[in-house]
């Protein structure tokens, strides 16, 4: 496999014109620059003025908390997500059909909504713990507003990234490798650890990278849970010391860390392209679980779904049911959220596709364009103001409203490029060089072959990317907060405003509305991946 891959990539690089960059490469360059502009903004701001007066000791503590939290979330999501995917793909147990797609649903719930729910539910002065102390005589030993509490909340919010990636990987794995492992005397469990998991490592890396980047960039949840991460330092430098430069400086090491993470993730895939186009499509040998094992599998999946979605929804409902929702305002905000999400998904996917196609041979460029995803929301807001200032100064005479909308959509593309790039990259890797060559031999240009061959083959991946970005924009906060035009609230903005004002009950309806809007696309996405094994009956 390794041999053919290397030969293939050598072949890929040959038809390039030695002189001028092609149209595709220009497009990729433009997309990459657009995405990198806010980061350049952060660096410029960081160099622009004196730093903040936050003591180094505090900064180190914030950095340590960020690193520790990322590590905890990385380990937890990797474990929870991989195990769930392995159970669902390789085993038969009660509820498997339902769980196989439902386990991705927590992706629809914004992390900040989970934080509201868990912090309130397990608050020391909440009904639950008051009742426990009074009736049972003991207290819950686990505080939500701690680093482990935050790790708990974020892990259940983000494990679906790993689950989706791993399920797709297990579904497209070669049965031959598993059978070889079993023939060589491995038990089913050993086959998992020694064959399936190593083969799926790129998928695991991609899923965990997304979860960890989401953790680093998180804006609402960690702040609400009073865990002081680097974001705290950024906000403190900015708001107390009034120093945007100081805030941007705190973010620089974080950018470097994110870049290293992305680079490592990329590196771990090198030479490990277990080309799925060559596997033999036979049904995966599914093992039937019985008795206690079957019950444990069902319970495990049910627990994941409950913690990630059902319990928070129940809490939101219980707290909202007594309040009349302001339907007109919610409907307007929902329209805004939906239209921004649709437009943003479209633009981001097109840019990401251009980047993936044109920069296929320069992975560093696409890594840089992905950094926005791992940048703390507050820092991204500072960085976005730099390109925005340019636009504001040259947009004399244009409608301020449409300039604002344009900026927002651009901001989403810059922030969420990574979420679109990952699936598109994966999708494009299914296109074998010989397929592109066939297109070129029939007289297509490089761009023409991309349009006629690569994009249609990767159509599913494009759709996946668009839907992930769509759902992410529904939940997006920092860019929306700072760049939106007048009289233009989204559901996430309304929920956040209530939470800031310590009116959690009222944050319920807008949060539920986000989940309701996001559930459909997430469910559809999950179904699509379930049906993605070629040759498998749909």
């Amino acid at each position: 496999v390794a041999l053919t891959t290397r030969a293939a990539s050598a072949a890929l690089s040959r038809p390039r014109l030695p002189t001028a960059p092609s149209l595709l490469q220009w497009l990729a360059l433009a997309a990459g620059l657009l995405a990198a502009l806010p980061l350049i903004g952060v660096i410029l701001v960081a160099l622009s003025g004196p730093g903040s007066e936050i003591p180094l000791r505090d900064l180190l503590r914030y950095a340590g908390t960020s690193a520790w939290l990322s590590l905890l979330v990385g380990i937890a999501t990797a474990t929870l997500g991989s195990l769930a995917a392995w159970l669902v793909v390789m085993h038969r147990f009660p509820g498997r059909g339902f769980f196989s797609w439902a386990l991705a649903l927590p992706l629809a719930a914004p992390a900040f909504a989970l934080a509201y729910a868990y912090a309130d539910l397990f608050d020391a002065a909440g009904d639950l713990r008051m009742w426990m102390r009074a009736s049972l005589g003991f207290d819950w030993p686990f505080e939500m507003r701690t680093i482990s509490g935050a790790a708990f909340v974020l892990s259940f919010a983000f494990y679906p990234y790993v689950y989706l990636a791993m399920r797709a990987a297990f579904l497209s794995q070669s049965v031959a490798a598993l059978e070889s492992a079993r023939m060589l005397g491995c038990s089913q469990r050993e086959a998992f650890f020694r064959a399936a998991l190593p083969i799926a490592r790129p998928a695991l890396g991609a899923g965990v990278a997304l979860a960890v980047m989401e953790t680093l960039a998180d804006y609402g949840a960690v702040q609400f849970l009073a865990v002081q991460t680097l974001t705290t330092g950024v906000v403190r430098a900015w708001t107390v010391f009034g120093s945007a430069a100081g805030a941007a400086r705190i973010a620089l090491p974080l950018l470097v860390a994110a870049f290293i993470l992305l680079w490592l993730e990329r590196r771990s895939r090198r030479g490990r392209s277990h080309d799925v186009a060559r596997v033999q499509w036979r049904s995966i040998p599914v093992q039937s679980l019985r008795g206690a094992k079957a019950a444990a599998a069902t319970l495990y999946c049910l627990a994941l779904l409950t913690a990630g979605l059902l319990l928070p929804i129940a809490w939101l409902l219980a707290n909202s049911i007594g309040r009349t929702p302001e339907l007109a305002r919610l409907a307007a905000a929902a329209t805004h959220s939906l239209s921004l999400a649709a437009a943003g998904a479209l633009v981001t996917t097109i840019l990401a596709a251009a980047l993936a196609l044109g920069a296929a041979r320069s992975p560093v460029a696409s890594r840089i364009a992905s950094l926005g995803y791992a940048t703390p929301g507050a820092v991204m807001a500072i960085g976005l103001l730099a390109p925005a200032a340019l636009v504001w100064h040259v947009s004399e005479g244009l409608s301020a409203f449409w300039v604002g909308i344009g900026l927002l959509i651009y901001a989403y593309a810059a922030r969420l490029m990574a979420a679109a790039l990952e699936p598109i990259d994966a999708g494009l890797s299914r296109v074998t060089p010989s397929m592109i060559w066939a297109g070129r031999t029939l007289g297509r240009s490089e761009a023409g072959a991309a349009l006629a061959v690569q994009l249609p083959v990767a159509r599913g991946a494009l759709l996946t990317a668009a839907l992930i970005v769509f759902v992410d924009i529904l939940k997006e906060l920092p860019a929306t907060l700072i760049l939106r035009p007048f009289n233009f609230d989204t559901l996430a903005v309304i929920a956040n405003n209530y939470a800031l004002d310590e009116r959690l009950g009222q944050a319920g309806w807008p949060s539920l509305a986000i989940i309701a809007l996001a559930l459909g696309p997430v469910a559809w996405l999950s179904h699509r991946i379930a049906a993605s094994r070629p040759g498998e009956a749909r």
Binding site: A226, T239, T335, L346, W392, H393, I482, D501
Partner: protein, 346 residues
């Protein structure tokens, strides 16, 4: 690629639709418009905006956000900023906006009615509501005279009995800023150390969470803004009411001259395109009627001492407010943060 067409169509149609709606909202019934950047995002303020538009015909366009994000946005927008009026719920933010050169001074008879201590001397910004930083305590374990001064909160008698939120809170920063102004830096730092030693748990949550923790017996005393307690005690959440009713509100004094008060206030943007309308809106916020509205619905105190506070605030209005000009401690927030950080106040 059909999916893309569908997505594009949806985006185009809905964006078009909401653009239409937006343009309608921007048009007032003939009196022009005013662009409001506000860090206040209380639902009850919306009714007030509507009333202003009804009375004057001036439509209000608003962007709500955190104060410092709005400041950063105004700075980026520069001379072309559409902002007319900037409103914040803490005097520190107003001071930072002034430092950034975002305000222009205004003179107005109506605004001059506001107490002098709540205005910037040159007229860059004006406070139109007051909020006191006070103490909620458990009357079964604490006597009122034990919490009648800020100093006593730091005394060893409250070791491991006090709940307070983190030093990131602008309300804590303003309080410590006022203590620095009154006592000097050294004594204020000692006080902060005393508070840290008295904490029943590391700071977590907002003011409401401190009140709830006190009601739950985790601590005996909580430092909080007045309106959170009043809202819990008289709001529509029955479990909050129950919790608040176990507690009392005390108004600690600074040097025997009254409790620390902060403001909500606003200033006219330096490049306001609708300057006259902006002044009218700020005057409207400072009107007796609006002050009463803020008190009734958001449980803040009216800025003017001659405006009688309506229920439910009236029950808690019999306290003395420290006469220190709010501008004096606004500038001390960075200093306060440094002190609290040294004292180990997370």
């Amino acid at each position: 690629m059909t999916w893309f067409k569908v997505l594009a169509l949806v985006a185009a149609v809905t964006l078009g639709a909401c653009g239409e709606a937006d343009r309608q909202a921007e048009r007032g019934p003939g009196g022009g418009e005013v662009n409001l950047y506000t860090a206040r995002h209380y639902d009850s303020d919306l009714a007030l905006y509507e009333q202003f538009t009804r009375e004057t015909g001036i439509a209000i366009n608003r962007i709500e956000g955190r104060a410092d994000e709005l400041i950063a946005r105004m700075r980026s927008e520069g001379a072309r900023s559409p902002a007319d009026l900037f409103v914040a719920a803490d005097v520190g933010a107003l001071w930072r906006a002034q430092q950034a050169g975002l305000f222009q001074p205004v003179e107005s008879l109506a605004l001059a009615q506001l107490p002098e201590s709540l205005r910037e001397p040159a007229g860059h910004w004006h406070g139109f509501t007051r909020r006191a930083r006070v103490v909620a305590y458990n009357p079964e374990r604490v006597r009122p005279e034990e919490v009648d001064s800020y100093e006593k909160l730091a005394s060893p008698r409250f070791r491991n009995r006090l709940c307070v939120r983190s030093s990131d809170s602008v309300y804590n920063l303003s309080l410590v800023g006022a203590l620095i102004e009154a006592w000097g830096e050294q004594r204020a730092e000692q006080w902060a150390r005393g508070i840290v030693a008295n904490m029943a748990r590391p700071p977590e949550g907002g003011d409401r969470d401190q009140i709830r923790a006190t009601a739950a017996g985790i601590c005996d005393v909580a430092i909080t803004n007045s309106y959170y307690f009043i809202r819990m005690a008289s709001g529509d959440d029955s479990s909050d009411r129950q919790l608040a009713n176990r507690l009392r509100l005390a108004f600690p004094s600074l040097e025997g001259r009254g409790s620390h008060v902060n403001i909500s206030g606003g200033g006219i943007a330096a490049n306001a395109p609708n300057r006259a309308n902006a002044i009218r809106l700020l005057e409207f916020f400072a009107s007796r009627e609006a002050q009463k509205h803020f008190a009734r619905h958001n449980n803040e105190y009216p800025a003017s001492p001659d405006v009688p506070p309506p229920p439910p605030v009236d029950e808690y209005a019999g306290f003395e407010a420290h006469p220190m000009p709010v501008a004096a401690f606004a500038a001390r927030q960075p200093q306060a943060q440094a002190i609290m950080s040294r004292a180990g106040w997370r």
